[in-house]
Amino acid sequence: MADALLSLLKLIVTLISGAALGLGTAYLAMHGGKGFGAVRVGVWVTWPLLGSDAADPYARAIVSRTGEIPLALAEGLTFTARTDETGEPLVATCTYRLSGAMPAARTWTLSLADPGGYLVDNPAHRYGFTSQEIVRAADGSVQIVVSRSARAGNWLPIGNVPQFLLLLRLYDTPLSATAATLDKSTMLSIKRDACR
């Protein structure tokens, strides 16, 4: 009798812990990244397969949970940065300098969003830059300052959020098929400047 009770108890513990472990790991997988197939270029990450019919089950689960509409591979690529060069999260109390070259694309846009991917209000009503409105240096390189307080030049305001992410979208890019061959030197770097 005692044995039977013990076995029943073990069975219950086994079922509960198995289900909890399965659901827990599924939850973590769906809240972490965007599935397999991530391509990292410096601080930037993109998921080229997200925009194709080869998207893996994790990517599809994540997209259906967030409700986002990813760019199709034929439209372009979206790169996301959540950290600066040292791996620290992007926070509103710091100033960041983005500089460098840009990968080949017909057009690119850079925008700022909260960690959930939504635009953040700011007094300047500026939410991003496009390749056509950016002011370039004489050598064609790009410099952008991301900060809460206004700056001269290409200034992207942060707005009222503790943390944020940066989204770089390349439209009609020849890189689509070969994102894996991207080089860090052809992307904007993100360096942290002063913090309050």
Binding site: L21, G22, S64, G67, A72
Partner: protein
């Protein structure tokens, strides 16, 4: 008993728990697209009836229906259900800016996309069809005469077509919105074609 030997003694139970965990994990991940209450298809229902093209309001803080929008694009959507016939998507391309259409199955899979660069004669002319509808259309085709419109095979009966037009400068947003407003989508029952 040490913790280690306890685990060894209970190995069948541990293995059972792990196998169960793996099964639950897989089912949860695979079911997510079907169980999600707030996926793009459902969120976009707010803009209006199905089988009609709707320009979306400009992406601004606090008004976005979906996350991860590009504030530099004007957008529009046509949610469709192919039950009554193929979906005809048409658009005249107005300028020379970036315009794209992406075709999404109901459960978050992109099965086709194209940009203005792939457009012929400055317009998009596309039918979204099921396998049966494609066969019916092909049966009516005139031999040796290629069909005028592109035909895209949908993987599911329901889905949505998403349109983006880039506004390279803030002052060009109205033009991008006009481009989006120039897109149409309608169900055309096979008998009328």
């Amino acid at each position: 008993m040490s913790p280690r030997s306890r685990v060894v003694a209970e190995r069948p139970w541990v293995i059972t728990a792990l196998v169960l965990a793996a099964a639950v994990h897989l089912v949860a991940v695979l079911m997510m697209p079907r169980l999600a209450q707030k996926d793009a298809f459902l969120r976009l229902a707010a803009v209006g009836p199905i089988n009609t093209f709707h320009p979306l309001p400009r992406a601004l803080p606090g008004t976005e229906l979906t996350p991860f929008n590009d504030p530099a694009t004007a957008m529009g959507v046509c949610r469709y259900d192919l039950a009554a016939g193929p979906l005809h998507v048409r658009a005249k391309l107005i300028g020379d800016g970036f315009v794209s259409l992406s075709f999404h199955a109901r459960h978050d899979k992109i099965f086709y996309a194209l940009t203005d660069k792939a457009a012929q004669h400055q317009d998009f002319d596309i039918y979204v069809v099921t396998a049966d509808q494609l066969a019916a259309m092909q049966a009516k085709d005139v031999p040796d005469e290629p069909p005028k419109a592109l035909r895209v095979l949908a993987q599911e009966r329901r889905g949505f077509v998403f349109a983006r037009a880039l506004s390279p400068l803030p002052s060009a947003y109205e033009a991008a919105a006009e481009q989006i407003a120039a897109i149409h989508c309608d169900i055309e029952p096979l008998s009328t074609q």
